[in-house]
């Protein structure tokens, strides 16, 4: 099934091309500082995208992750202002995120309500809780958070790897291990590929679906924590629409939206490509900001058509996979 690896190859080629284009056009684009910033600025979207990858691999979708990031930010800020240590706050929210995610997974599987609708309800619920907690921006003042946002490992050149980038890399390793080295990961691919066959083969479908959304909840909380510590504040409207960026990262990263096919590492490049487009347009300076959305939309189109063509050729070869 080498054709299945083509989307991810295409993702990688686009990333290298965009990066090369920037390097040829602008001085200092190839510097470690620009690359470090690219990692830092897109860390929370990529972390959210990693969780989303599992959801999409299982054949579902999650619209609630943007609200989750906003909720974690405002909840952390409020807890810290009441004297709770930020790490304790994150631990509490992790438990909450996992429970909420598991509940969503259970409703989706047990009552057969579409993931789109269930996670949409969760999106409203979490955004609403943001407003209930606070209507204003709340600063996070704590030595730990200051240390986190000031933390940097210098790179050769004048760049550095920041705290958010390190969290992102750690979460990537966790996601890679879960996806490729555990039975749960294999189950996710199986359920997303063909749930009926998976069930007949003895894959615990319900446990897998519940697990996927619980895992996604944990990634959502980590994305929110990264965003909150990075901006040192919580804001009830923060990160609205990030679910779309996360979904776009997964799609551009070569994961099939029908589920079952895709790689975790692709999502990282999907997120970085969106960041690169943004950086390129900012570097250029003469292009207006709306081009970012138009270019990302165009790129989505190219990738989806590419996937379609590849899957068609795979089907033509006799694999009954594509639906």
């Amino acid at each position: 099934m080498r054709e299945r690896r083509l989307p991810i190859m295409a993702t990688f080629v686009v990333f290298v091309l965009l990066y090369g284009l920037g390097g040829l056009t602008f001085d200092h684009f190839m510097s470690t500082r620009v690359f470090g910033n690219l990692l830092t600025d897109n860390a929370f979207v990529i972390i959210a995208g990693l969780g989303m990858t599992f959801v999409i691999l299982s054949g579902g979708i999650d619209l609630s992750v943007g609200s989750m990031i906003g909720f974690v930010g405002i909840a952390t800020a409020t807890l810290v202002s009441h004297g709770v240590h930020p790490l304790v706050a994150i631990m509490l929210l992790l438990v909450l995120g996992v429970v909420l995610g598991a509940a969503m997974g259970y409703v989706i599987d047990a009552f057969e309500i579409q993931p789109f609708i269930v996670t949409l309800t969760a999106m409203f619920l979490l955004r609403g809780l943001c407003f209930v907690i606070s209507l204003d921006s709340v600063p996070i003042k704590h030595p730990f958070v200051t240390a986190f946002s000031d933390f940097q490992i210098p790179l050769p050149g004048d760049g550095w790897v920041s705290g958010p980038a390190l969290v992102m890399i750690a979460m990537l390793i966790v996601a890679l291990v879960i996806a490729h080295l555990t039975r749960f990961g294999a189950n996710v691919y199986a359920v997303g590929g063909d749930a009926a066959s998976a069930l007949l083969l003895g894959v615990p479908v319900r446990r897998t679906i519940v697990g996927v959304y619980a895992l996604n909840g944990a990634f959502g909380v980590m994305a929110g924590a990264t965003y909150a510590f990075y901006t040192s504040s919580g804001y009830p409207l923060a990160a609205s629409g990030v679910e779309l960026d996360a979904i776009a990262s997964v799609v551009i990263g070569g994961t099939l939206l029908t589920g079952g096919v895709g790689l975790v590492i692709g999502t990282v490049f999907g997120g970085l490509i969106q960041g690169l487009i943004q950086t390129l347009i900012i570097f250029d300076g003469s292009l207006d900001s709306w081009w970012i959305r138009i270019v990302i939309g165009g790129l989505l189109f190219v990738f989806i058509v590419l996937q379609k063509v590849i899957m068609r050729s795979v089907t033509a070869l006799g694999s009954p996979q594509a639906a």
């Binding site: 309500i113 789109f116 609708i117 359920v191 138009i294 939309g297 989806i304 058509v305």
Partner: protein, 349 residues
Amino acid sequence: MIPVTPPPTETAARPPREKKSLPSFVWPLMALATILVIVGLIEPAFFSIRIVEGRLYGSLVDIVYRGTPIMLIALGMAVVIGTSGIDLSVGSVVAIASAVMAHYIHEGWDPASVIAISLAAGLACGLWNGFLVAALGIQPIIATLILMVAGRGMALMINGGRIPTFRSDFFSFVSSGSIWIIPTRLFLVVGVALILWALLRRTAFGLFVEAVGANPSAARLTGIATRTVTLGAYGIAGVCAALAGLVITGDTRSSDAVNVGMWSELDAILAVVLGGASLSGGRIYLATTLLGVLIIQSLTTSILMTGLPPEYNLVVKAVVILAVLLIQAPKLRIQVANLAAAFRGRGAK
């Protein structure tokens, strides 16, 4: 999500046979009535309707009035969902139609031409989505995601990054004016609903749409031009969204490409689902879709009326919607029926 239904644990405990199913409008209507009764008990003034300055005035009128843009969008969405599709781009189409409208009003075009070109823009957007779904066979959720992401950028481009304002007596009349004591925009919704009803129930098109949604392969084998039907459904959704754009923009007299119609796709999809349609397609309920919009809008209005802080709006909305969805889920009803049957069976022993 998972198309596997585990075998029934106790065949004997199942209800003896499928009872005659209730008409489709019963559940949404009951939900709406429950909400209104609860609010009415808390705040009796909720039901008062007066005539002020020659127009109807009151919370119930307000609910219908504010709900109209989403009603227009949801009617188109109902058709798309009937083909087992979904259209995420309607919010962006609202923004594009709004920008096109503002642009050509500034060019000095007459209202009829402005309406025509804005609706044409909506139709073009819808046909693009339909082309991706029908001709390229892309999953609807993803196909329409492209325009959802790129559409607002295009609207911003048409607006030149600004928020153009305009004066137009005609569009103000259409959006916020009234004929006799009834708001003009209600006539618009009723008109669109009647046209769609006639198209779907008085021509074969409706049957074709539901056939495509229920079983595309079977529909194709019976000789239905499934691609044309799908294309048509997305075209309708595009035009409906553009119409909603005209109503919203006529009211605000400005085109804010970033915010106009934001999240309206989610409200519209929810309305269709609350109206009892399944996202897996095969059924179009126009009347209950309108009821779905009224449920969403009356929740928003009644939360304000009962004096609950507005920040609870979304939380209450989420909880109520989840409750309505669970009540409507056939799976839950079967489980409850099984439980009830088992309980009754034990009582008889």
